[in-house]
């Protein structure tokens, strides 16, 4: 594991580009609180915000139905919009949807596509910076969660997770454990123990 860096701290070696790094002269500096791995030249944010990107899968809550457009709350400073003519079933305010960002317009509003209504279930919101850990390398962690809890899980990159069926309490407990211990090694094993111990 690397060392924890704070905003403005210099990174000796950094490969590639990142939203979490800025360059001044020929030096790279961190913009966020994160873990810096000097061997691989990588910075993983411990705390970070979600920036809408094209192709991101998100979970949102329908806020308003305006004639032919739905406005969707995305757990971010920006809203999503979905055209009702591309959605098969009608939506109402308060509905939870899964969607993919098709485009981001000038005002940073996300245009949503492939909208799917999620019926029933519960949603929990976590820090968006922890989502990659919840998914795991090659989706190992999320597969393990699904297997261990028999829940249906949909993970939005905006930090919202939809859980339906199965053992909700166990799934939520495991997710919060992952969020709290995201920066520690050997987490997959410990989550496995948790899931097996309480199955």
């Amino acid at each position: 594991m690397g060392t924890i860096v704070v905003p403005g701290e210099v990174l000796e070696r950094f490969n590639g580009r990142s939203d979490n790094v800025f360059f001044d002269g020929n030096k790279a500096y961190s913009k966020v609180l994160g873990i810096y791995d000097s061997e691989r030249g990588m910075l993983t944010p411990l705390e970070g915000l979600w920036y809408p990107r094209m192709g991101d899968t998100v979970i949102g809550i329908v806020e308003e139905d305006k004639f032919n457009i739905y406005t969707v709350y995305l757990n971010a400073p920006y809203k999503g919009i979905a055209m009702s003519k591309f959605i098969e079933e009608p939506l109402a305010a308060g509905d939870i949807i899964e969607a993919v960002i098709k485009d981001i317009d000038r005002t940073k509003t996300a245009v949503l596509t492939r909208v799917r209504k999620l019926n029933g279930g519960k949603i929990i919101s976590v820090k968006p910076s922890k989502i990659p850990r919840i998914m795991g390398h090659g989706d190992t962690m999320i597969k393990q969660l699904v297997q261990g809890t028999k829940c249906t899980l949909v993970v939005g990159l905006n930090g919202v997770i939809w859980i339906s069926g199965g053992n909700y309490d166990l799934a939520a407990e495991a997710i919060f454990k992952i969020v709290e211990e995201a920066h520690t090694p050997g987490l997959t094993e410990r989550v496995k123990e948790l899931l097996e111990g309480k199955k």
């Binding site: 905003p7 403005g8 913009k31 609180l33 400073p77 410990r190």
Partner: protein, 246 residues
């Protein structure tokens, strides 16, 4: 800066009233992530100052007319609790002094937070002084920097602030309440440690050019200590979790 004929002796036998040397800081302790409802928060104990700072956002800028289509806007509210000081500090709500401090604090963070990443949104910063003993704006800025960093909002630097002043012939660092009231000058300074950029510089009273440069030297020296405390505060919650699995 009250002065007057009943001015107390602030330096006795080469030491200040609380036993510090001229260039000594008071004890600084910071805790990050104190408030669970906030996106980022910090609690600072700086001498007898006790201050909470909380950051909310970025979120949709409401009312709409405050939104800037190019960048996020920061709104800052510095406030002293009615019970925070020996003298009465108003019942509640901002007074003229609080509005000024809110403005200068906001301007410090407008320089270091990457506002361009969140056009059209707003970030709320609250600084609540629970107990005051001089230098609350400096302590507030130091705590707010930790609150910002713990919220994950991208920043170019982690600023700190501390005050310097002049008592008689001496340039002194980090004035407490009584020194602040009866000193000849008081100058709070906020710096960005990465480039030693001055983000805030206010002055009450008068200091010579030499005194100011001496004062700024003291600030940068003290700054390395304050920065260390800030960094330790940010790392502590993570290291606590890591230490369980070593």
């Amino acid at each position: 800066m009250s002065g007057g004929t009943d001015k107390p002796e602030l330096i006795v036998n080469g030491k200040r009233l609380d036993g510090r040397d001229m260039g000594d800081l008071r004890a600084v302790k910071i805790e990050a992530g104190t408030l669970k409802n906030a996106d980022g928060s910090a609690y600072i104990e700086w001498g007898n100052n006790k201050i909470l700072a909380a950051v909310y956002g970025p979120k949709e800028a409401l009312p709409k007319h405050i939104a800037d289509p190019e960048r996020a806007v920061i709104r800052c509210r510095y406030s002293m609790a009615p019970f925070s000081s020996l003298e009465e500090h108003g019942r509640s709500g901002p007074n003229r002094r609080a509005i000024e401090i809110s403005k200068v604090t906001k301007e410090v963070f407008e320089k270091v937070v990457v506002l361009e990443d969140f056009p059209g949104s707003k970030i709320d910063l609250f600084i609540e002084v629970l107990q005051s003993d001089g230098g609350t704006r400096a302590a507030g800025i130091t705590a707010a920097a930790v609150a910002f960093a713990s919220s994950g909002i991208p920043m170019l630097d982690l600023p700190y602030a501390v005050s310097v002043g002049k008592i008689g012939e001496h340039v002194v660092l980090d004035l407490n309440k009584i020194e602040d009231n009866y000193s000849d000058a008081d100058m709070p300074v906020a710096l960005g440690p990465r480039l030693n950029e001055v983000l805030l510089l206010q002055m009450d009273g008068s200091m010579s050019r030499q005194d100011i440069s001496k004062g700024l030297e003291m600030v940068t020296r003290a700054g390395s200590v304050i920065s260390q405390v800030q960094k330790a505060a940010l790392k502590e919650p993570y290291e606590k979790v890591s230490s369980r699995y070593r």
